[in-house]
């Protein structure tokens, strides 16, 4: 049976169409989830896409955290059962929801940055990165204004020690993230958040590469091994 992967649309979500396309290209069925319905529709995994949910008012992701859908998503994610991938604004929402440590702040350049971005995969032991090898460099897209990852030193030391840094920026620093961290995971490895956009690197025609597809195929392989129950 085809895996069903939910893609959440908040008011102001922008890359939901792209995330759904990536899910389909990976071979799963994308399922639209609406922020205002506390209903995960029985999906096997969820993508929180990029964008400017609620206009980024107050703080990026701060309002989306309180959406009715999140009341269903957060417990399922926290328990380790539901694989969740947060991309860009989705990463910000996961941090605001305390599913992931740290926070995202304004780029050190103070400008929005849109460019192809080289990443180094630091951990393949998550639900979303099993198809990569550790140390592998992948080319995806970075496009964000508030993408600088910050956390206190103790937290940074801890997530490094626990192998929870998932991807790191390779090459020149794009936004001032602490220790070059581009994405992290939770203690179970089912929740992954990253600032760059793997869903924009799934077709040679429109992306800088097809390296991003691995996130979406990884979760299918992960579910095949350990079927998730929601």
């Amino acid at each position: 049976m085809t895996a069903r992967v939910g893609v959440v649309t908040f008011p102001g979500s922008l890359d939901d169409k792209d995330a759904a396309r990536a899910v389909a290209l990976a071979g799963a069925e994308p399922v639209s989830l609406w922020h205002d319905d506390a209903d995960l529709k029985g999906v096997d995994a969820v993508v929180l896409p990029g964008g400017f949910s609620y206009g980024d008012y107050l703080r990026c992701g701060a309002i989306a955290r309180f959406a009715p859908l999140m009341s269903e998503l957060v417990p399922a994610a926290r328990s380790g059962a539901l694989p969740v991938l947060g991309i860009c604004n989705g990463f910000q929402i996961l941090c605001e929801s305390h599913l992931l440590p740290g926070a995202l702040t304004r780029n050190s350049s103070l400008r929005f940055v849109n460019r192809p971005q080289l990443l180094r995969v630091e951990s393949s032991a998550t639900a979303w990165t099993g198809d990569y090898t550790e140390g592998q460099e992948i080319l995806v897209v970075l496009k964000s204004g508030e993408g600088s990852y910050v956390a206190d030193e103790e937290t940074l030391d801890r997530i490094e020690a626990e192998g929870r840094v998932v991807v790191r920026y390779a090459g020149s620093d794009p936004n001032g993230s602490r220790r070059g961290i581009a994405g992290v995971t939770n203690e179970h490895g089912n929740v992954v958040g990253l600032m760059p956009h793997p869903e924009h690197a799934v077709e040679a025609l429109t992306g800088p590469s097809t390296d991003g597809l691995g996130f979406f195929t990884s979760v299918l392989a992960h579910m095949a091994k350990a079927p998730a129950g929601v």
Partner: protein, 764 residues
């Protein structure tokens, strides 16, 4: 300033015919005011005066440009693809498979000088709503920008502000920015140009028009509440509250909320899809005045509005101010009564405020004859009772006097061919690097890296390549390509030819990415129409564009005019920005300008003549503007376009790049840098002319190995001069010529190309 009664009703106006009115402060001429009195058979109420003053403004009525713009219709080529022509919010063209594309470019120049960030942001917002109003999903934006000299102090205020405004608004809407252009020049210092373009896609049957048919249908205002922003002259009318300090300090530049616009887009598209509106209009310049008069004039002619129902951000707003407010993110829809509940439910879903403010009414034959009847009340009292068509369609039309400036002859006689040329290879090399690094030629990454080019996942080609190209549907490989171009230096030297050159460049850019040009939009940026010399430039420019479009079969579908781009008596170089839209059957065949195929042979298409007037070389090296611009040969452009699009379609080309600013030298350098490989060429003629001439109708092509003969045959079949000049490979640009050679390593080229804007903007 005379005292106007607090609420100036129609009854008050009738009983006080001699009350002086501030028409001049609102920018109306005396004879225009007299004409309003004649239409109404009495003096206008202050609310009516507000409506006529904004609707008859240059910006809304095109009163100075209309007589010239008519040529675009009169000379329009036969073209079956044109589904909606000029006059609507935007033109619509058929692109095949039952799909249509709408596109338009519009200026937001003056607000962007006053407040660069918000001015540019709301420029994007306005053009996106124009496209949405046609029933289309907006899918991409572009922008054409001009600033003062790159090293001028004020440019460091204006440029970053404009770019951040476009970035902020466009990125938050989820619209990829797929290209555009940026230029610098003395005249733009106090008059920056911000021309924003939007493209939308729809099915043929989804086209919406600004009309209000069906008496009894409801008039609904939806989107943001109305505030005091962008009111400008209305405070003159609100003289009764002049003692209120807050009114005097209102901003004349609107403030944008892209999040609300994003909701408005999704909400409107759902309303369209569910067939819940019979007519739709966005609120841009002239706000409620424009939307009500245009919708009414496009329908029965009758409409009744309760102005006091308009939701307000500031409850103190007067009827006049509500009519003139340019608050952003608002739309007006005409809805059948039976669909009102469902309409409101969709708005509720998207958290968009929607308010019924009136209804469509019937008119008597006599009223229809007069131009319909629009009635507006304020808490039950009638403040407007006028024929809407007289405001929307029957504004003044001026035949402004125009004459060729006396100085034009001297300007054209100052031939750039007489300028000192580089002596020897060292100087040739140095000048090539200087031109490559000129702010208007060099790498635009500092700007375009602030724009999201990937969102929606359909961007096939974007900056810095020759056009922006997007795939238009998930179930098809069809795509559209767009390029905007304009060269104020060429247009200054010869407005007719210069405008045709801008058109030709955009046409060539579209073809160089593998698409076939189909239709045209334009944004005509000029100085004051009251200056006969400027008006001559305008007349020549419009004639040039109309003639060119007629000749190459690409209709003008719409556009925008921006006058008064001048400081004191000094106008900007006339800058018509021409946007050409093309169609490509299969986006997988598209070409980029990156020459990245090692061993590919490089061909030069077209004829190179010693043409330097208005060139990037003359400007950068000598600070010179004089002589004549390059010749235009539209037949040659069309043939070149066929060769480029044909070579893409048949898979003969690996990459292609048009020749424009800077000529062959710059084009080779860009293609080498974008491809990350060197290029070695040998030119047969004089090295200086070969590298720096800006002759039109030329391009370079990297041909797929093995397809050289087929490519040569294609060019020959179309009568396009073709010359094999070299090979892709190595790590330097090498140009051999009859008396020597110039060699520049890629790293040195890159440094010259990429460092200019970041250095100028560092610390901003």
């Amino acid at each position: 300033m005379s005292e106007v009664p607090r609420l100036d009703t129609v009854a008050v106006a009738q009983s006080s015919p001699d009350t002086p009115q501030p028409y001049a402060e609102l920018g109306m001429a005396k004879d225009e005011y007299e004409r309003v009195r004649e239409i109404l058979g009495r003096r206008p109420t202050s609310a009516e005066l507000a409506i006529y003053s904004v609707m008859w403004s240059e910006h809304c009525s095109y009163k100075s440009s209309k007589v010239h713009l008519r040529q675009f219709g009169e000379k329009a080529p036969e073209n079956d693809a044109l589904l909606v022509g000029m006059g609507e919010n935007a033109g619509v063209v058929d692109v095949g498979d039952g799909r249509a594309v709408t596109f338009k470019i519009e200026s937001h120049n003056h607000p962007s000088y006053v407040e660069p960030h918000q001015g540019a942001a709301t420029g994007v917002g306005g053009i996106v709503r124009d496209i949405l109003t046609m029933g289309a999903r907006p899918v991409a934006v572009m922008d054409a920008l001009r600033f003062g000299p790159a090293d001028a102090e004020d440019t460091k205020r204006v440029l970053p502000g404009v770019v951040s405004g476009i970035s902020f608004y466009g990125n938050c809407l989820g619209l990829p920015n797929i290209g555009g252009e940026i230029g610098f020049g003395e005249g733009y210092l106090g008059n920056p140009l911000v021309n924003a373009l939007c493209i939308g896609v729809m099915r043929h049957e989804d086209i919406k028009l600004a009309q209000a048919p069906g008496p009894g249908n409801k008039v609904v205002l939806f989107g943001s509440a109305t505030g005091p922003d962008g009111i400008g002259g209305a405070s003159v009318l609100a003289s009764a509250s002049f003692d209120d300090e807050s009114h005097a300090k209102r901003p004349s530049v609107q403030v944008g909320d892209p999040f609300m616009e994003k909701l408005l887009i999704e909400c409107s598209l759902e309303l369209f899809e569910k067939d819940m509106v019979v007519g739709i209009q966005d609120l841009g310049a002239a706000g409620v005045s424009c939307a009500t008069t245009e919708l009414a004039a496009g329908g029965t002619g009758g409409m009744r509005i309760q102005l006091n129902k308009v939701p307000l951000r500031d409850p103190r707003l007067t009827p006049e101010e509500i009519l003139m407010s340019e608050s952003q993110e608002r739309m007006m829809a005409i809805v059948e009564p039976s669909k009102m509940a469902d309409f409101l439910a969709v708005c509720e879903k998207w958290q968009v405020l929607a308010t019924e403010i009136g209804e469509v009414t019937d008119v008597t034959p006599e009223e229809a004859e007069r131009g319909g009847r629009l009635v507006m009340t304020w808490h039950g009292e009638t403040v407007v009772d006028m024929p809407p068509r007289t405001a929307s369609d029957e504004g003044p039309v001026y035949e402004r006097p125009y004459s060729r400036p006396a100085a034009q002859d001297a300007l054209q006689a100052d031939d750039a061919a007489a300028l000192p040329r580089p002596q020897g290879d060292a100087e040739l090399r140095e000048q090539l690097l200087r031109v490559l690094g000129a702010p208007g030629v060099g790498d635009p990454s500092w700007v375009v890296q602030q724009y999201d080019s990937y969102v929606r996942g359909d961007t096939v080609v974007s900056a810095p390549h020759d056009s922006g190209m997007i795939r238009i549907a998930d179930d098809s490989h069809r795509g559209v390509a767009l390029s905007t171009d304009g060269n104020g230096r060429f247009t200054r030297l010869d407005p007719y030819t210069g405008t045709q050159l801008a058109y030709a460049e955009a046409y060539r850019n579209v073809a160089a990415t593998g698409a076939r040009p189909l239709a045209v939009t334009n944004c005509l940026n000029f100085g004051s129409p009251e200056d006969p010399g400027v008006m001559w430039q305008f007349a020549e420019a419009t004639r040039g564009l109309a003639d060119a479009c007629q000749k190459l079969g690409t209709p003008v579908t719409g556009g925008n005019v921006s006058f008064y781009n001048q400081t004191g008596d000094v106008a900007i170089n006339p800058t018509p920005v021409i946007g050409v839209l093309g169609v490509i059957d299969d986006v997988r065949t598209r070409l980029k300008s990156a020459f990245d195929t090692d061993g590919a042979r490089v061909f030069l298409l077209g004829e190179t003549r010693p043409e330097f007037g208005g060139s990037a070389w003359a400007d950068t090296v000598h600070g010179h503007l004089g002589g004549l611009p390059p010749e235009v040969d539209l037949t040659a452009e069309a043939a070149l376009g066929e060769v480029l699009a044909g070579a893409a379609e048949r898979g003969l080309a690996a990459a292609a790049h048009d020749l424009s600013d800077g000529g062959l030298g710059v084009a080779l350098a860009e293609s080498a840098l974008h491809g990350g490989r060197g290029i070695r060429v040998a030119v047969s003629g004089d090295a200086f002319t070969s590298l720096f001439s800006e002759s039109a109708a030329r391009a370079i092509v990297a041909v797929r190995p093995g397809e050289e003969n087929a490519f040569l045959a294609l060019a020959t079949d179309h009568g396009v001069p073709v010359e094999e000049i070299g090979t892709v490979g190595g790590d330097a640009l090498v140009v051999e010529h009859p008396s020597g050679a110039v060699e520049i390593p890629l790293e040195e080229l890159r440094e010259a190309y990429e460092s200019t804007l970041p250095a100028l903007m560092s610390g901003v």
